[in-house]
Symmetry: C2
Subunit: 387 residues, 2 copies
């Protein structure tokens, strides 16, 4: 297992009889058991073995539990509840309510615009005025390690007939996801300044994408079957509290933002998180989350500007993270420029898009205080042949 | 309350301490109580007061319960469990898992194409080859009777600056919704012939839409905040079993369909359901569901063609139902041709789009056997001023 050190303290659901766990160095602290003895006031929150009740409990409880964990590490009581991580199964850490996927990287949106709409401006006119997003399928958000069956579907390659069959252009999207803890009231927008009161933490996301299915279906109502077959998330949820030292300002804005999105005078909600994408053990990209144009706080404010509620378990993801350099792009369609420039792997093979048996692993770290490192749990998945 | 007669037998969740109910003439049969005495083998399915457990129980149980209800009506035992409906609160009848909205009326899609893209073909090239759809926000699907707060958001009217404020073009969409009972396995498509094994029943849907917000945001990823503030459903779920006599063939297809969508040799899954839309008690439209190009069985097959799962509680809606005639259009944007030809109300006022205080009611009926009528529960909602 990954070495999480002692600062990150990410949460998971583990074991045959699921308990809530906390990553501590390369072991798992059994929080369901520890809380029963050491934190009885909150023990019921962890009794069901996933994070749902804890997410709903809100920011004061999140802080109390994190403080308790830190104290148990210092005074040694944590040792009584450590479980070796080898061979322990990790599960979906929470029940996904709604899943929204944004499109917040200017480099990614521009690259896709150049590839798909070469005769138009790369960015649509709305892009710099609001974080564009859409709803994905919550029911197919799966835990890291779940095999991804190559999806079949309709596609119409340029100049060819419509056909149905396994996707020939199966891709990844390396993203960050944010997990809502506290819900909100229908009809009442949630402003950026309430970000920490509603959002519990972050995870890694691989928003698998079938580019051929997507290209044929997505006009006029957006992505649907090109995405809905699977979205993988890391089994570890990193609390916002551990990302305090990673906060950075987002890129300078080139357009004046509407008041509900204007973060020019607010503490910044960008995060300096460094991602790494590997295929079959070979790193193909290092996407920098710090360069994302739209922050998660802006996304939350936008998503609720019409009065839509947040619910416990809502997951909203950043969209593909791509930096300005070629080896910082978070999707194969950009890395290979629509398949024309395959990525070379050490075995001499090239990848335009994913092949059956390929394993994709996305990992990430961020700066913590005093030289500590915040470590995200991997999100991994292997492509199984079409059925 | 509506008179449901004795054939429809629609399900609801009612009362301060929620019980599952069945509409019988103009009363509610308390199924939670009746099952405890008369159908003990299935009583636990109704103990929690909503349909979730019953939906998951599958088609054999659905048939057994419907047979028992019919028997109690005939032998008079139903009378012991009838509750007067006046003043009884109705609740969301089930927990919505994923919500998908389709776009299955050729008249509606063509009208919107003509209004929004006057220089292009009204239908996009994919429209006749697959049921186009997108995911909506499950967390804001609300029960009939819930007030709809006028949403605010970004819009950029033609030739004007971007601004934020209450929607000036608040609209309805009259739709049918289908409710999934039995889930499916990740990676395994569900064919049209399995429709009755997975889909439990149908309800009425009003997919409220803020056209100004929608127009500015929807390229390239589809509708988002223009829709996500509220979607209302009827509190009554009509089982598929009661719609057997309403089955009709969909319109003739003008394009050869891919095998997984080809229903030319299958029993038809169109339904002859007649809808009626009223504003403040005045009927403005009578949309005919029988004319929908894509059936719910095709939508289910398409939605899972990539291996995406169905889950208990998934709701998928038809998209706006519009017939060929003006007074058959299911949205104001079509009825008023983008606001240019207001609908006249009896009080002499006109409506281009909805005003604060307007109450919208959508109702529907369908033919049953032997002259019986299948009656859908209304979906109603009143517009509250923007906050």
């Amino acid at each position: 297992m990954i070495d999480f050190g002692t600062y990150t303290l990410p949460y998971c659901s583990f074991g045959a009889q699921p308990h809530v766990g906390v990553g501590l160095r390369d072991q798992i602290l059994d929080l369901t058991s520890a809380a029963a003895s050491l934190l009885p006031a909150h023990a019921t929150l962890f009794a069901r073995g996933n994070l749902d009740a804890f997410l709903a409990a809100g920011p004061q409880v999140w802080a109390e539990v994190r403080s308790a964990l830190a104290a148990w590490v210092v005074d040694g009581r944590a040792a009584d509840y450590l479980v070796p991580a080898d061979g322990v199964g990790l599960h979906m850490p929470f029940t996904v309510a709604d899943y929204v996927d944004f499109y917040a990287s200017e480099n990614h949106a521009s690259n896709l615009g150049r590839i798909f709409r070469p005769d138009s401006e790369p960015l649509t006119p709305n892009w710099k005025h609001m974080p564009i997003g859409y709803h994905g399928r919550a029911g197919t958000v799966v835990c890291s390690g779940t095999s991804v069956v190559r999806p079949s579907g309709q596609r119409r390659p340029p100049g060819a007939e419509i056909s149905v069959g396994p996707s020939q252009r199966l891709d990844i999207e390396a993203e960050m996801g944010f997990v809502v803890g506290t819900g909100s009231t229908l009809g009442e927008p949630v402003g950026m300044d309430a970000f920490e009161r509603h959002v519990f933490g972050a995870c890694l996301v691989n928003d698998w994408s079938a580019r051929d299915i997507q290209a044929w279906e997505y006009v006029p109502l957006g992505p649907f079957l090109g995405k809905s077959f699977a979205t993988s998330i890391s089994p570890w949820i990193v609390p916002l509290a551990s990302l305090e030292s990673a906060r950075v300002a987002p890129p300078a804005r080139t357009e004046k933002l509407q008041a509900y999105l204007d973060d020019s005078d607010s503490p910044p909600w960008g995060f300096d998180i460094a991602l790494e994408v590997a295929i079959n053990g070979h790193t193909i990209s290092r996407p920098p989350f710090a360069g994302m144009y739209w922050t998660a706080a802006q996304q939350m404010a936008h998503m609720t500007a019409n009065g839509a509620t947040l619910r416990t378990g809502d997951l909203f993801a950043s969209g593909t993270i791509s930096g300005p350099d070629r080896d910082q792009r978070g999707a194969l369609i950009e890395l290979t420029w629509n398949g024309k420039e395959p990525v070379e792997l050490p075995d001499g093979s090239g990848r335009s898009f994913l092949e059956d048996g390929d394993e994709v692993v996305i990992s990430a770290t961020a700066p913590g205080p005093d030289g500590a490192t915040v470590v995200f749990g991997d999100v991994r998945g292997t492509i199984a042949p079409a059925r």
